[in-house]
């Protein structure tokens, strides 16, 4: 019964929004690359070839090669795991942290709200990308620290969003009814309010994912975090940027296009997800 309702709802959500199908297709492609990138890649992404430097796209190298003769297609495919991995872990962490802090602030109010609110304001007071740079610089150059930095700069958005959503629901009749039904404060929050704020939060997360991908890649672009020769979209764009003037466009266009595709896919997914998760739109 539940399973068929779910499939019906998925069908309903996709039927209403065909673009979601496109987004899901792109997502599957990206996830495929992330999972089996090393197997799918035609070449070793780290293998240099002195005889094939800066080869334009051709049959042997569909995306061409870079200044060290590495196959760009292979590097773009293999990089998916690292780029998506960093962004997804950062978003999952800030989603969970923001949901917990924001709903506590919104539900309990008072000093809880004030303390959490001021901490978030402090984070927001910095230019966020500069803050992320500072965090990575302070903690050390590693993938983990890129995730932590991206998590911290994303946290205020989830936190404020959750706080606002909880706050408007706190005084609703069904919350009063939940208390009358024997729910303690924490149970009211987790069992009665959170299910209602998850759909808009998921949409927020999906839209935010694109930004997180850009952030992680951006940090690598300016030389923080991931180091060469690791295949990563941000580094590849950065390395290819030196070829802009000499006209070897493929060195930065393809990794850049991969970034654009990933961001685009998550933004589209946001809308579809909202339809799927919002109980008001369920059938």
């Amino acid at each position: 019964m539940r399973a068929t309702t779910l499939t019906r709802n998925i069908g309903h959500a996709f039927g209403e929004n065909r673009l979601t199908l496109v987004a899901v297709a792109i997502l599957l492609l990206l996830l495929l690359c992330a999972a089996f990138g090393t197997v799918l890649a035609p070449y070793n992404p780290l293998m240099t070839d002195g005889t094939a430097k800066l080869v334009a796209p051709c049959m042997a190298h569909p995306f061409g090669t870079d200044a060290l003769g590495r196959d760009i297609l292979s590097r773009v495919v293999v990089a998916a795991r690292l780029d998506l991995g960093m962004a997804i872990s950062a978003v999952v962490l800030s989603f969970a942290g923001g949901l917990a802090l924001g709903s506590a602030a919104g539900y309990f109010g008072g000093w809880t709200d004030r303390v959490i609110g001021r901490v978030m304001d402090t984070i927001m007071a910095f230019p966020l990308f500069v803050l992320a740079m500072g965090i990575v610089a302070a903690l050390g150059n590693s993938v983990l620290n890129i995730v932590i930095a991206t998590m911290i700069i994303n946290l205020p958005f989830y936190c404020r969003f959750a706080r606002g959503e909880v706050n408007v629901r706190r005084e609703m009749g069904y919350i009063e009814a939940a208390r009358m039904g024997g729910n303690r404060a924490l149970q009211v929050l987790t069992n009665h309010i959170v299910p209602n704020i998850l759909p808009p939060m998921m949409v927020q997360a999906s839209l935010n994912m694109g930004w997180a991908i850009l952030n992680a890649a951006g940090l690598s672009f300016i030389g923080l975090g991931v180091r060469p020769p690791t295949p990563e979209w941000g580094i590849m764009v950065s390395e290819g940027a030196s070829n802009i003037i000499s006209g070897e466009w493929w060195t930065f266009v393809f990794p850049g296009a991969a970034l654009v595709l990933a961001v685009f896919c998550f933004n589209l997914l946001g809308d579809g997800l909202r339809d799927l998760l919002d109980p008001r739109r369920r059938i």
């Binding site: 019964m1 609703m172 009749g173 069904y174 009063e176 009814a177 939940a178 208390r179 009358m180 039904g181 024997g182 729910n183 303690r184 404060a185 149970q187 069992n191 009665h192 299910p195 209602n196 109980p279 008001r280 369920r282």
Partner: protein, 334 residues
């Protein structure tokens, strides 16, 4: 005092005939308002509800009915006063603690707006089953399904609607879900906070009949809150009239309708449209109630709007005094 009263000596004025279920003693609720004043939402209200009795609570908007409901239902903590449920003071613990006590199941509320009081993320089953799990500790799924099914049947909710979400139901169906949720834990006292005011007139009648039928079958006590005297008259045996946070008159339903003593009650009754009384001069109220913020403790709350008021009303607050046959009234001229 009523002669049939089994306890005529210790009882407060207006005590119900029979065993007392719930008794509010000097219940008050005051809020601080911006600017430093105190808003007296409920001001030392004494009220008793007998076992199996149906009490109506009427008054205009803003008279403190809803606050009194929230206090009696233990959804808010009173500023002062006691609430005795079977002789035990349930206002002694905070409402947050009360949520986890076994007595929580004994007082349930049917809320004013059925659409707003149902969780949009919950199916009907979950809405009715959640209080059963929490209040009665019912974990067994088959027993739970049975209880939910029975509650739905009692309120006339078709079983196929149990797996629906609130947005897929009509207003009347939502009202039935709200009632089913409240009666499922088998409360001793059901508080109905204007349960029909958000419904269409045609649905109102059906829901009122359902409520009357449920009371007859389940023997719960009702506290029926409304601003509509006619609705209250249909269901209730005793009526309590509130004005600006205070009880001004309390009487058996028929006595109130035929011989209201308080000028405010008389005005309320006069406001009921009646084709038989067309052309007659009614006692009509002018203006609006006085401010509930820092009211003069020595003046009648109705003074200034009252057709009978004199200087005495401005200097002496009338007490609730018995007027025979379970009728009590707070007016110098009643």
């Amino acid at each position: 005092m009523d002669i049939a009263d089994p306890n005529p000596f210790g009882a407060l004025p207006g005590t119900a005939v029979g065993v007392t279920l719930l008794e509010a003693q000097a219940l008050s609720m005051r809020y601080k308002v911006a600017g430093g004043g105190m808003l007296h939402a409920v001001d030392s209200v004494d009220l008793t509800i007998g076992s199996g009795e149906c009490v109506g609570l009427v008054g205009e908007s803003g008279c403190g009915k809803s606050t009194l409901v929230r206090l009696l239902a233990r959804l808010a903590d009173p500023t002062s006063g006691r609430i005795l449920l079977d002789g035990q003071d349930i206002a002694a613990v905070s409402q947050a603690r009360f949520a986890g006590m076994p007595q929580r199941a004994r007082i349930q509320v049917v809320f004013q707006d059925p659409s707003e009081s149902l969780n949009p993320a919950f199916r009907v089953f979950q809405s009715i089953a959640d209080p059963l799990r929490r209040l009665l500790g019912l974990k067994d799924q088959t027993k739970l399904i049975e209880r939910v099914r029975r509650a739905a049947e009692l309120v006339g909710l078709p079983p196929e609607l149990i797996e629906r979400y609130p947005h897929q139901l009509s207003g009347g169906q939502r009202a039935r879900v709200g009632i089913a949720r409240a009666i499922a834990p088998e409360p001793s006292l059901l508080i109905l906070d204007e349960p029909t005011s958000a419904l269409d007139v045609s649905v109102q009648a059906v829901i009122l009949r359902l409520l009357a039928d449920l009371q007859a079958r389940l023997g719960m006590s009702y506290l029926f809150v409304s601003h509509d005297l006619n609705v209250v008259r249909l269901l209730c045996s005793r009526i309590v009239v509130m004005y600006l946070g205070r009880v001004v008159e309390m009487a058996p339903a028929e006595a109130l309708f035929t011989g209201a003593r308080h000028p405010y009650t008389q005005a309320l009754l006069g406001a009921i449209p009646d084709p038989a009384k067309r052309g007659e001069i009614r006692s009509r109220l002018d203006g609006s109630p006085r401010s509930p913020i820092d009211p003069d403790p020595n003046a009648c709350r109705f003074h200034g709007r009252c057709p009978k008021g004199t200087e005495r009303c401005a200097t002496e607050m009338p007490r609730l005094t018995p007027a025979g046959q379970g009728h009590v009234v707070a007016c110098h001229f009643a």
